[in-house]
């Protein structure tokens, strides 16, 4: 750790040196007391020029072998999705596991799962922005991209789960010649259309507005005229003038304000798909907050998973530091406890309501034939994140990675438990039944991950994966202003 003379508070640290605790500068206070200085958000003594190079590098180089391997795996899974969907459309819903009591199966589970994942990005970029959490700058770009891709994955499922998906457009209320056929505004499925499309559009706009200055940076660094032209067009001819920056900042703030309520509304409305029904286990008022917090929980887990890759494979350790990871682990633990609280509340209410149907369904949920799924859900979501009470575990990327995966497994099973156990035994025991995924269900679930990772890998190849301009704003000028490192200088000269 070195401390340049210019400022007593500016500290150059390496990723491994971070402790997660503030640096105590003895006697630096105005009256001679100690001052606690937060550890830097960017490590490795990076200069501003380093940032440009480190981040734009991935979009400028020929892809590495590692990327190609990852991309071909993702593409293979995407191929599985395409083949499965063609079979599904030709053969019919029969190839899936859905049946008479359990009319919704893996597709709705996957839909809610992916929508949930799509929550963290906008939360990080909008809510944390409004709360002036500066550490968000390292991760917000990738997290927002993740949101968009997750929403794209989620958006497939409500369409393909239809018996006649070719008529899905009937859900869009526009004056038409089919009667006119109008949608039923009583139906939560109609609300979903509005909630999800609004969320997707606002998230896309927000993400893209944030990208503008960085796209300009890529343009400025570009050498090939076509590349320059392309990125120039993408950046809407960003000039970097003060006016542009002023407008940009205002727009960003407004969009953050718009996006924040959406974070809460989308999953609230998705939860209405269940909460407005008459089925015990679905018909509960706790669902909106329960779903929102679960979504943030799973979204953060997915962000941790992706950031671990970004740190390891794309050399982003200096921008996405261990401190970032620890902060996310803390959020994961907190939301995990809220999720656990929601689970417990459901049980309490089932007992307290005195409803026989409600009481049965929760007993059946935990101890019936799908008790194993409930156990996976409860362990992964409510118990395992409790490990983050221990600092060494919070700061161990392997543990973080493993837990983030487990949390997403748990969150998938949460939706499995809600969808399947509520439906499989409802009012009349004569229609009770069981549900199991078929090979096509599994293929389409795996294929959705293929779509997600294909999009994500393309994203890291063509766009700045960290918000360059925002990261620069949280760097200590006393360090970042000085001349670029030798390697960077050489690169600039060669360019």
């Amino acid at each position: 750790m070195t401390r340049p003379e210019a400022s007593p508070y500016a500290t150059v640290m390496d990723d491994g040196q971070l402790t997660g605790r503030p640096i105590v500068v003895a006697g630096a206070g105005p009256y001679g007391g100690d001052v606690e200085v937060p550890e830097p958000l960017v490590t490795g003594g990076k200069k501003w020029a380093d940032v440009d190079r480190d981040i734009c590098m991935h979009a400028e180089q020929f892809p590495t072998k590692r990327w190609w391997i990852a991309f071909s795996v993702a593409l293979a899974f995407l191929g599985v999705l395409v083949v499965s969907l063609i079979t599904l459309f030709y053969a019919g819903m029969g190839i899936l596991g859905v049946n008479s009591p359990v009319g919704w199966g893996s597709f709705i589970i996957n839909f809610v799962f992916w929508i949930g994942i799509g929550h963290a990005g906008t939360l990080i970029s909008a809510v944390l922005y409004l709360f002036r959490q500066q550490w968000r700058t390292g991760i917000n770009r990738a997290a927002e991209a993740m949101t968009l891709f997750a929403v794209a994955c989620a958006g497939i499922f409500p369409i393909i789960h239809l018996g006649r998906p070719w008529f899905a457009y009937w859900l869009v209320p526009y004056p038409n010649a089919r009667g006119p056929l109008w949608v039923n505004f009583n139906s939560p499925l109609a609300w979903d259309i509005f909630a999800i499309s609004t969320y997707g559009l606002v998230s896309l706009t927000f993400w893209y507005v944030g990208l503008l200055p960085d796209l300009a940076t890529v343009r400025d660094r570009a050498t090939h005229p076509w590349r320059k032209a392309l990125y120039n067009a993408l950046s809407f001819g960003w000039t970097g003038s003060h006016r542009a920056w002023r407008h940009y900042e205002s727009a960003y703030l407004i969009l953050a304000g718009l996006a924040t309520p959406l974070v809460f509304s989308v999953h609230t409305i998705v939860s209405f798909d269940f909460a407005t029904s008459v089925i015990p286990g679905w018909h509960t008022t706790i669902f909106p907050p329960y779903f929102v917090i679960g979504a943030i929980f799973s979204g953060f887990a997915m962000v941790i998973t992706l950031m671990t890759f970004m740190r390891g494979y794309f050399g982003m350790k200096h921008y996405i530091t261990l401190n970032h990871m620890e902060l996310m682990a803390k959020i994961l633990m907190f939301t995990g406890m809220m999720v656990g609280f929601a689970y417990s509340t459901e049980f309490f209410m089932a007992w307290y309501s005195g409803s026989e149907w409600e009481g049965f369904i929760f007993k059946n949920r935990a101890f019936g034939p799908y008790g194993w799924a409930y156990a996976i859900m409860f362990t992964c979501n409510a118990i395992i994140p409790q490990l983050f009470w221990f600092r060494p575990l919070r700061r161990n990327t392997w543990v973080l990675f493993a837990i983030s995966i487990l949390v997403n497994v748990g969150m998938w099973f949460e939706r499995y438990v809600i969808v399947v156990t509520s439906l499989h035994r409802d009012y009349l025991p004569s229609s009770w039944g069981m549900y199991a995924l078929t090979r096509w269900d599994y293929a389409i679930l795996a294929g959705s991950f293929g779509l997600f990772f294909t999009l994500f890998l393309l994203f890291v190849r063509v766009l700045p994966v960290v918000a360059i301009s925002e990261v620069k704003s949280v760097m200590d000028p006393t360090i970042a202003r000085s001349a670029p490192t030798r390697a960077a200088a050489a690169a600039i000269q060669e360019g």
């Binding site: 053969a91 819903m93 029969g94 009319g103 018996g163 139906s187 499925l189 009012y427 009349l428 004569s430």
Partner: protein, 1080 residues
């Protein structure tokens, strides 16, 4: 010049616009004609030469015909010349009842696996060769003449006088023998009655007149062809008019049957003990209590001496007080109580003794004197066919049969193994197939290449009863005409046609006359349709009319005769009530329904003492008989398996076991658990002479020492749909003492390797009605104290939805659970009316049934100390030894606040102005949200395309289930069964009960035509298919807003309960409490 003015353009060369249109129109029409001629295969249809005005396919009135299937009168509904629905005759006077097999015989008619024409089978190698009637039929005649007495005609029981005459014509001229084989005919009752009274005219009990019914293995609901279940239901409502009490039914049985499940009290006795139990009751009443005419009969006293109630009870493992209580009940109701035996349990070695004991009890209780049996001369019950078949098989094996003609029988599949006549031969038994191999020439007249036909020489396929003329003798002295309702679909002939032709060939004058008349009719030029009906070119028609000339009042060939004949065809029955003037000399058969009251005591003959000897065979041997015994019972839907290729029947759940597409070995729960079995685990059943492997089923209410297997499964040559379903249990039957024994067989069972999942139609079956009050049920004593007893449930809160306003009509249904016996005829009726596909075994295992209507069967959990014995929530109970069975028909409840309606984003399901919950298939995109949100789970989703074949061979290969779904539903000519009034649904849409909206709308259209749109629909204006099929009148449908309607009064009845009030859905269907008569 105006450029648009085309009229004045002299310079334009060639054609003008009109000319162009004319030419191109002609070209298009010609092209269409040519291409149609080139591409469309020629069909043998007769188009309307002059299309009647306003005739559109599927629109317009249906036609109804009266005819007979297997001796049971039915009404057939046809559309565009196709039969589309079979319903019971509302005015049938014969007392016969339809079975589900009769209803589903529509599918047999359109069975794609029927033989399409005569086939030369070339047994013993060589391929099948299609042949013709002209090529094969005359050959049979010459063979008949040549074989003389060495020819045998083997048929099922002949219910038709005309067929019997034709057979007599053949046998009388050629000396051929006629042998009858009825694989399921009950022998015990005819044997006992013959011994007791000298004739086998087993009288039909009149259950509607009895206050107390005691069943000894009775199965009148499981085998409902005689209509007893309808009579029984007449007395099962607790609100009887005129102070008549609800009847009470006590049943002794070993296997929980549908009949036993409807009993007020059920006492488990293994089949082999039933005779002793019955004799013990007789002993108690006759010897101990000195009741009835037999009390003074020393012979009876001597024969019954061995059956003291205490000793018998110990042997049967019963408490003697239980038997004494039943005896008390019987003794307290002389002249008002009836004892009935019969059923599978009486097919045991002691069957005749059971029947005799029942007879003794009925005589003692004065049931016969009091008119509790029909005095009318019944038809002689068929019996002894097992012995006849054994004798025939022995003759065949010995080479004494040169020509065997089979018609409507399949003994290779359903005959037992026969013992060789002389001892010392090896092997000691032989099968019917072995014997068949020794017959010179075998002619089969079955409808397909079944197990027997495929080892015959020729198959001359018989027509379906709907395709040919015949007649039938019915109970109560009635006769009926079997009239064709459609031209034969294939190159088949009616049995009577063939027999008449052969009889003519053999030299029978009546048959020769008929054949000559038919030939003459054929030679005549066709007559214009408008003229009087021409003589038929069909010999059977002439033969039949000639035979009926003796019965009809007018001489043949007179206009009066034609009128009477036409009236006969219209009425379908003779004597038809008030339709045909009945002359006194022709009908001696009195009409029992019209003559209630006492029959003079003198009509009851004394029981012959030699009959009492039957009891000697079942005298207690001391000690408890140990070991496991097997009962073979006819499959509820398939019976003897002749309709094995019928998808509707295979998919109809057994009313008790709820198994579809197959059957299983029923084992008592305790034994099942002791053997550590799971449902579907394979078990080997060893009866000594034969072994069979069958899946096991945990059958609540089975006697611990008894297991049971259904007969009629395991067909191997019935067709693509039904081959290889379940085990064939027929080889387990034995012939003993000239009778077929299929109950009380001593067997051992052991677990075999493997599991064959049972395609159960129901998820769980045990309910705790305190927690889940979903079936209203109570006891008579509770009901008499509180008329709403049994309908208690949590009340719903207020609704935030606006209430629906009904301008006039609101359709509703009421189902009286006290009358519903769970037989499932409504399910088949609904399936036929509404074009509901079958999903096959795989579909049932996937739990994707399509049936709009189902009968839920629940076991009411037993109570102990006011608490439930065990946790009810996790599937079947640990032990359900003696369940209380509840049946509940479940269909769309057409909720006032339908949860499906609010959640559909496409508005594909909506509330109609007359209270229906409508499903609009065109709008449905298939989110399945409505099905999830339906608390009754009555919505059905088309997971596959059932209505048409998947075109792509690749996807058929990739997903074999597509091929199977097509096999089950779309092979020609199966589509012909479809009711044109109902849409055939496509893949991906939801469907459900519509309250038969097509009938509602037709009634509405009729009301409009009649100018009665302002008035309420009267009762009976709309009868949905389920109500129409229900034999017991448990279902009532109508306009609940019409204050005078039956459904309105039932919906307002204290017994009425609308399910799941707490959910707030407000169903339109009211269930009336199931009341059990608990008062001894």
């Amino acid at each position: 010049m105006n450029p648009n003015d085309t009229s004045a353009r002299p310079d334009t060369p060639g054609v003008d616009r009109r000319e162009f249109l004319r030419v191109s129109g002609a070209l298009a029409a010609g092209g269409a004609l040519l291409s149609a001629g080139c591409q469309v295969p020629q069909e043998a249809t007769v188009p309307f030469h002059d299309m009647p005005e306003n005739l559109v396919d599927g629109i317009g009135p249906a036609r109804f015909f009266h005819t007979v299937i297997d001796g049971t009168p039915v009404a057939v509904k046809t559309r565009e010349g196709r039969p589309v629905l079979i319903t019971p005759r509302a005015d049938d006077a014969s007392g016969r009842g339809l079975t589900v097999r009769h209803q589903a015989s529509l599918m047999d008619l359109y069975d794609p696996d029927r033989a399409r024409g005569p086939v030369s089978v070339r047994r013993g190698g060589g391929a099948l060769v299609e042949s013709s009637w002209a090529g094969l039929s005359p050959d049979v005649v010459s063979r008949l003449k040549a074989a003389g007495p060495k020819a045998v005609l083997l048929t099922g029981p002949v219910a038709s006088p005309a067929v019997a005459d034709a057979i007599a014509g053949i046998t009388g001229r050629t000396g051929a023998r006629h042998v009858v084989w009825a694989p399921l005919e009950a022998d015990a009752a005819p044997e006992a009655w013959k011994l007791a009274f000298g004739n086998a005219r087993v009288a039909r009990p009149r259950l509607e007149k009895a206050d107390l019914i005691v069943g000894l293995g009775a199965e009148f609901m499981d085998r409902p062809g005689d209509g007893l279940e309808r009579d029984f239901a007449l007395r099962r409502s607790p609100d009887q008019a005129d102070g008549v009490r609800m009847s009470r039914f006590v049943q002794f049985e070993g296997r929980l049957t549908l009949t036993g499940a409807n009993a007020d009290r059920r006492i488990r006795v293994r089949d082999s003990h039933l005779g002793r139990i019955a004799a013990a009751l007789a002993h108690e009443l006759i010897v101990v209590r000195k009741l009835g005419p037999l009390a003074s009969d020393p012979e009876a006293g001597k024969a019954l001496a061995a059956f003291a109630i205490d000793a018998v009870a110990v042997q049967a493992g019963l408490d003697a007080r239980v038997l004494k209580a039943v005896a008390d009940e019987l003794a307290a109701a002389p002249g008002r109580s009836i004892v009935i035996a019969g059923g599978s349990a009486c097919a045991s070695a002691s069957g005749p003794a059971i029947e005799l004991a029942a007879l003794l009890l009925n005589v003692t209780l004065g049931a016969i004197d009091a008119g509790l049996f029909e005095p009318a001369a019944a038809i002689d019950a068929v019996s002894g066919t097992g012995a006849a078949l054994a004798a025939l098989a022995a003759d065949m094996l010995a080479g004494k049969v040169d020509l065997l003609i089979l018609a409507g029988v399949n003994p290779v599949y359903d005959a037992p193994a026969f013992a060789t006549a002389s001892a010392g031969l090896s092997p000691a038994t032989f099968t019917f197939a072995d014997a068949l191999a020794r017959v010179g020439y075998v002619v089969s007249m079955n409808d397909r290449l079944d197990e027997t036909s495929r080892i015959a020489d020729v198959l001359l396929p018989a027509s379906h009863p709907f395709e040919c003329w015949s007649d039938a003798a019915l109970p109560r002295g009635l006769f009926a005409i079997q009239q064709p309702v459609i031209q034969p679909l294939f190159d088949t002939r009616g049995l009577l046609d063939t027999l008449v032709e052969w009889a003519a060939g053999a030299g029978d004058p009546a048959a020769q006359a008929a054949v000559a008349a038919a030939a003459a009719a054929l030679a005549k030029p066709p007559v214009p349709v408008t003229a009087a009906p021409a003589a038929s070119p069909n010999p059977a028609w002439h033969y039949l009319r000639a035979g009926w000339a003796a019965r009809l009042p007018a001489a043949p060939a007179t206009p009066a005769f034609e009128a009477a004949w036409n009236e006969l065809l219209r009425a379908g029955q003779w004597p038809a009530p008030a339709a045909i003037p009945v002359t006194a000399d022709k009908t001696k058969a009195d009409k029992p329904a019209a003559k209630p009251g006492k029959v003079p005591a003198a009509t009851v003959p004394a029981i012959a003492p030699r009959a009492l000897a039957l009891l000697g065979a079942i005298a207690p041997a001391g000690g408890t008989a140990a070991g496991l015994e097997l009962q073979l019972y006819p499959h509820f839907a398939l019976a003897d398996g002749r309709s094995g290729n019928n998808g509707w029947l295979n998919e109809l759940p057994d009313p008790i076991t709820r198994i579809t597409w197959g059957g299983a070995l029923s084992i008592a729960p305790r034994r099942f658990d002791e053997m550590k079995l799971a449902n579907g685990d394979l078990v080997e059943v060893d009866a000594g002479h034969a072994k069979i492997i069958a899946p096991a089923y945990r059958h609540a209410g089975m006697h611990y020492d008894q297991v049971a297997l259904p007969l009629g499964l395991g067909r191997v040559a019935c067709g693509v749909i039904g081959d290889g379903i379940g085990p064939n249990a027929f080889p387990l039957r034995i012939l003993a003492g000239g009778r077929l024994v299929s109950a009380g067989l001593s067997v051992s069972i052991r677990k075999a390797a493997g599991n064959e999942p049972l395609a159960l139609a129901q998820g769980s079956e045990v309910i705790d009605r305190d927690r889940r009050p979903i079936v209203p049920a109570t006891t008579l004593s509770a009901y008499e104290k509180n008329r709403t007893s049994g309908t208690e449930q949590e009340e719903g809160g207020r609704s935030i939805w606006p209430v629906h306003e009904y301008a006039k009509t609101r359709w509703a249904m009421a189902i009286d659970l006290s009358k519903c016996n769970g037989c499932g005829k409504c399910v088949i009726g609904c399936q036929a009316e509404n074009n509901i596909p079958v999903v096959g075994r795989a579909g049932m295992l996937d739990r994707r049934p399509m049936s709009w209507m189902r009968i839920d069967r629940y076991y009411d959990a037993p109570k102990k100390d006011g608490r439930w014995d065990v946790e009810v929530w996790d599937g079947p109970l640990a032990v359900v030894e003696e369940p209380q069975t509840l049946f509940e028909p479940m269909l769309c409840q057409h909720c006032e606040n339908a949860p499906c309606e609010t959640v559909c984003p496409f508005v594909a399901t909506m509330h109609s102005a007359d209270g229906l919950n409508q499903q609009v298939y065109n709008r449905c995109v298939g989110t399945r949200y409505c099905a999830n949100n339906c608390p009754f789970k009555v919505r059905r989703f088309n997971f596959w395309e059932y209505g048409k074949k998947q075109e792509s061979a690749f996807f058929r290969w990739l997903v074999p289930r597509i091929r199977r779904a097509a096999d089950l539903n779309t092979r020609a000519p199966m589509q012909m069964k479809n009711n044109p009034e109902v849409t055939v649904r496509s893949r991906g849409v939801m469907e459900k009960c519509s309250f038969c909206i097509q009938r509602i709308r037709a009634a509405g259209a009729q009301a409009t035509r009649d100018g009665k749109t302002k008035e309420h629909f009267p009762d009976g204006a709309v009868v949905p298919a389920c109500m129409e099929a229900c034999p017991t009148g448990a279902i009532t449908f109508g306009d609940v807003n019409n204050p005078g309607s039956r459904v309105a009064s039932m919906a307002a009845h204290p017994r009425a309960m609308r399910l799941l009030d707490a959910v707030g859905v407000k169903p339109s269907i009211s269930y009336l409490t199931k009341v059990r008569h608990d008062k001894a």
